[in-house]
């Protein structure tokens, strides 16, 4: 890089005041961009909170919606909250062991060339649009008579989570000091025990962080569920072999409705979802700071 040299053009000492003015303008612009970004976050969160707060009540979590209701009977989105719990839970159960195994293979066993090519595949999978994963599961399992179900929705979310879990686990495993592996192997402990009971426990904090982030991310996903778990009734069900409503999908459908009462519920559900996700991100950040110090053994 240094051979390329300074490309900013010749410096002109005599025009110092002008150069300083340009510098000042640029610094102010950079400050402004940061203010804009934070303002956008603030405006979105504030909009959701202001409109969601008034509709927020226990009814939202415990009462099912009443389709085509023209009365003011309290209705909620209990079915959506239950559906999100079930579907995201199953997705995490599928993606976690899978992602951790992938990471173990790449970090502890694979040759560098294999590691690079599968690493690239993970990045490619991470870049596949969520809606494409939705129609993939639709084509594979839903079309042709299979029908929608919560499990199929969970499978789509699990594919979305997988590269995320694998990537963070790889990064954490790479932080575990090699002296630990050497010490364990040197004591005659086989590699599988070294990996499972020495390396993995050391990395568990970081893996947990990645999991929390991945759960927070897919809990807000709508697109993969449109074709896999969307055609539902209003009753609350815990059964993942049927199609289940989820919170993001409920917000999506309510936001397209012309009824202001539906909008109010959409705002309230969005508020709950947003708070959950922001809290999860904060927790993950806190966990990450804690575990980063622990992994390195300092």
């Amino acid at each position: 890089m240094s051979a390329q040299g300074f490309t900013g053009g010749p410096l002109q000492v005599e025009r110092l005041p002008q150069r300083k003015a340009v510098n000042l303008v640029m610094e102010l612009l950079a400050w402004l961009t940061a203010v804009i970004a934070i303002a956008v976050l603030g405006i979105v969160v504030f909009s959701v909170a202001r409109r969601g707060w008034s509709e927020l009540s226990l009814n939202l979590l415990t009462k099912p919606p009443i389709p085509f209701s023209f009365t003011n009977a309290p209705q909620g989105l209990a079915n959506a909250f239950v559906g999100t719990l079930v579907i995201v839970g199953i997705a995490a159960l599928m993606a976690l062991p899978f992602g951790i195994l992938v990471a173990i293979y790449l970090n502890e066993f694979a040759r560098p060339s294999v590691r690079a090519s599968i690493g690239l595949t993970i990045d490619v999978l991470a870049g596949v649009p969520a809606i494409v994963i939705g129609i993939f599961i639709y084509g594979l399992l839903v079309a042709g008579g299979g029908g929608q179900s919560g499990i199929k929705g969970a499978l789509a979310l699990a594919i979305l989570m997988l590269p995320f879990v694998a990537r963070t686990t790889i990064e954490v495993l790479a932080l575990v000091p090699n002296s630990l592996r050497e010490a364990s192997l040197g004591l005659g402990i086989p590699q599988w025990r070294t990996t499972l009971s020495i390396v993995l426990p050391r990395a568990i904090g970081g893996i947990l962080t990645g999991t929390v982030l991945a759960v927070a991310r897919v809990a807000g996903e709508t697109a993969p569920l449109l074709f896999t778990s969307s055609l539902v009734g209003a009753h609350t069900s815990w059964n993942p072999t049927h199609a289940l409503l989820t919170v993001p999908l409920a917000i999506f459908e309510l936001s397209e409705s012309p009824d202001p009462k539906d909008h109010a519920r959409a705002w309230a559900a969005a508020f709950v979802l947003l708070m959950f996700i922001l809290l999860a991100s904060l927790t993950a950040r806190w966990l990450a700071n804690r575990s980063a110090r622990k992994i390195a053994g300092r």
Binding site: V44, P129, G139, N178, Q191, A223
Partner: protein, 331 residues
């Protein structure tokens, strides 16, 4: 103890040649290896299944699907083509990138060069939190708050002042417009591009920066002359990843773009992108050919995002090799 290298993070792969083979080793390596192969299989399955499900449309329309702009699901007069959605995807992601790029780079510069120590960490966290807001929530805000606000304040003003430019046509009645989609998309790709740019700027060697400053450059001249050239490749990769994200976003765009099969230059009219067309038809598709055509749209979207991703990864790996730094291929 001091002689043991505790900093090396390169794991041992074959500690001893010819050691005793443990069943557990074979099992763990087998399971883990199968999982790793599973990732490749999933990517392969996605491509195969999309080609397979889109087959009725592929065999009927061939490649011509890409440049035919009709989309008519009326039984008996069915005809499908992707052109208007490709146009919508192109115009929304292009303008979203145009808005987000300077903002994102500005934020990254602010965080690495200007921010006082105390606010650096919280601002970084807040910007990353913007990435965590679900697209459906941004879409809800977009259609109920942002869209109407843009329509009454900005779109009508731009139309009356600069209406002679084709981009600024008459605003739509509802506030749903391509312009709203562009703003929503730029909000969504902003945190991605800015966090990658920030990491790139953090990676610029201190000697280079200090050298430039010692030569008497102002801070901006140092940024322009040292940091931009150093991070150029990585920023290109970040922009391509942002582009991939913008192209693939379905939900928020569906909520705010209004829908319709048009190719027009007015940003204030309605439209559809590849992803939003698929998402908006999830309950509506009736005939097999229409479903296949929708999946064909998905296949085109998949190809576009694969190309974008591989290009970005290629740039990242090339830049890493040139700079001799291995910074965990996160991008």
């Amino acid at each position: 103890m001091a002689s043991i290298d505790t900093t090396s993070t390169e794991p041992i792969r074959r500690p001893f040649e010819g050691r005793r083979v443990h069943l557990g080793d074979v099992l763990l390596q087998g399971f883990a290896g199968a999982a790793a192969v599973g990732v490749v299989v999933i990517v392969g399955l996605i491509v195969w299944k999309l080609v397979d499900s889109a087959d009725p449309a592929i065999s009927k329309y061939g490649v011509g699907f890409v440049w035919h702009k009709v989309w008519n699901p009326v039984v008996g007069r069915e005809a499908y083509g992707a052109a208007s959605f490709l146009f919508g995807t192109a115009i929304t992601s292009f303008f979203a990138l145009l808005i987000a790029t300077p903002l994102a780079i500005g934020i990254a510069l602010f965080l690495t060069e200007l921010a006082p120590r105390g606010i650096q960490a919280p601002v970084t966290a807040l910007v990353e939190m913007l990435a965590a807001v679900p697209s459906v929530v941004i879409g809800l805000w977009g259609i109920l708050v942002l869209g109407p606000a843009l329509r009454t304040n900005i779109e009508s003003w731009l139309h009356s002042a600069f209406g002679f430019i084709p981009l600024f046509g008459p605003p739509s009645a509802s506030g749903a417009s391509i312009f709203t989609a562009i703003i929503v998309l730029s909000i969504m790709i902003l945190p991605i591009v800015s966090s990658i740019s920030r990491e790139l700027f953090l990676g610029v060697p201190h000697e280079l920066k200090e050298g430039a400053l010692a030569l008497g450059t102002t801070r901006w001249e140092m940024v322009r002359g040292v940091m931009f050239p150093y991070a150029r490749g990585g920023i290109a990769a970040a922009l391509i990843l942002g582009l991939g994200r913008a192209m693939g976003e379905a939900i928020a765009v569906t909520q705010v773009i209004g829908g319709g099969v048009f190719i027009h230059w007015s940003l204030f009219g309605q439209g559809d992108t590849l992803a939003s067309k698929i998402a908006s038809e999830y309950q509506g598709a009736t005939s097999n050919l229409e479903v296949a055509s929708l999946i064909y749209l998905g296949l085109i979207l998949l190809m576009l995002s694969l190309v974008a991703n591989l290009t970005a990864q290629w740039i990242v790996r090339r830049v890493e090799r040139r700079h001799g730094v291995v910074r965990g291929g996160r991008a």
